[in-house]
Symmetry: C2
Subunit: 221 residues, 2 copies
């Protein structure tokens, strides 16, 4: 599949590398055409390209938003509604405001999550929120943390969620550990997991952890 | 120990019953002196009393806030700062506003959690936030859910947290599954767990679940 990863930070590069490793043709996108991280990342990597948000977005069948949550809307506007139309947009970002120091605040948008705000602004794009509740190393290698920890998926388009669930499976997530939370309003819940995630990061001294949901064995999964 | 449980709802009665079962002298407190639930609860139960928030608060060495989060401040004011002075206050409540329908909003207080707001209003009381991230049946019987699920503890007073940790142990929580999140600002993180808890409740069709934190075995616990 042709995949655009928007955002050249650690999250974006990690996801782009993992997806390219799975044989996808991946474009790493940034605000500028000659982003040093993106150029370096694409160099010599089979099927890899780099470019502006719009360039990689136009070329892709599926787009991953790995930009910082506070600049995601601007990045997606730069990508262009036309280039995102009809496509699955995997939103892994969190709208964290560090301006007041640590811990950051999770920004909401008139009560909506960032994912819902994106969906409202790009109604013809099919937004799926996932992977935003863990560190990027765990996103692409769930086996590095033991136990039955989970990844959440939320979105309004069932077909889009099925595509994303398949992608998660190819990254190593067993089906039983992919929890479909329903529609995109569920992104409010997963984005609000950031405060406890950040707190646990401090207490445990590592980001190499993830949440599990324990339940009685006879409960429906 | 003489314990006051403020709040005669399901959470309060469940905690009061469990604590009385452990041999504590428990007072179940309500806004009025003749609350039917409280009268019924105390009847024939060894060491049990019922009364107003102030009456049971005055008699207690440790106080549990199990009132609804939106009325907790009023309930604690009714209990009286003098009756709470120097005591450990175990806050298990969540400030959920259902006025806009489901899902409820988690109310914050100028960016503070309810627990911090309580601590600010009762500076001579030692507030410990705990148990607010699970259904009441699991609070008092962690074994009903399998797995290494956890309970969080946060508070500014180390001695108070030690008392509460001991109480949690007597309710069946193994020490390794009691996670000390540090000071009371951590209550922002645990109160914000409500949205994902409520969402999972809907998806799983049961409240009989709890969160675990999976981490590599060689990480510090």
């Amino acid at each position: 599949m042709r995949i655009a990863v928007l955002g050249t930070g650690e999250v974006g590069r990690r996801l782009a590398t993992a997806l390219a490793g799975l044989g996808h043709e991946v474009g790493l996108g940034s605000r500028t055409a000659d982003n040093a991280e993106a150029v370096k990342w694409a160099e010599g990597r089979p099927g890899a390209i780099h470019g502006t948000f719009a360039e990689v977005g136009a070329a892709a069948e599926l787009v991953v938003n790995a930009t910082g949550g506070l600049v995601s809307l601007a990045a997606l506007e730069a990508a262009g509604a036309g280039n995102l139309r009809g496509k699955v947009l995997v939103d892994v970002s969190n709208p964290l405001d560090f301006s007041g120091g640590f811990p950051p605040k999770v920004v909401t948008f008139d009560g909506l999550s960032l994912a819902e705000r994106i969906q409202a602004e790009f109604p013809e794009t099919r937004v799926v929120k996932t992977l935003n509740t863990m560190t990027n190393a765990v996103m692409v290698d769930p086996g590095r943390v033991p136990g039955e920890h989970v990844v959440f998926v939320g979105g309004d388009d069932a077909d889009a969620k099925a595509v994303v669930t398949g992608l998660l499976g190819s990254l190593g997530w067993p089906a039983a550990r992919i929890i479909d939370l329903g529609d995109l309003t569920s992104a409010r819940a997963t984005e609000q997991l950031m405060p406890i995630w950040l707190r646990l990061h401090g207490v445990l001294g590592t980001g190499d952890f993830n949440f599990a949901v324990c339940r009685a064995a006879d409960q429906p999964s």
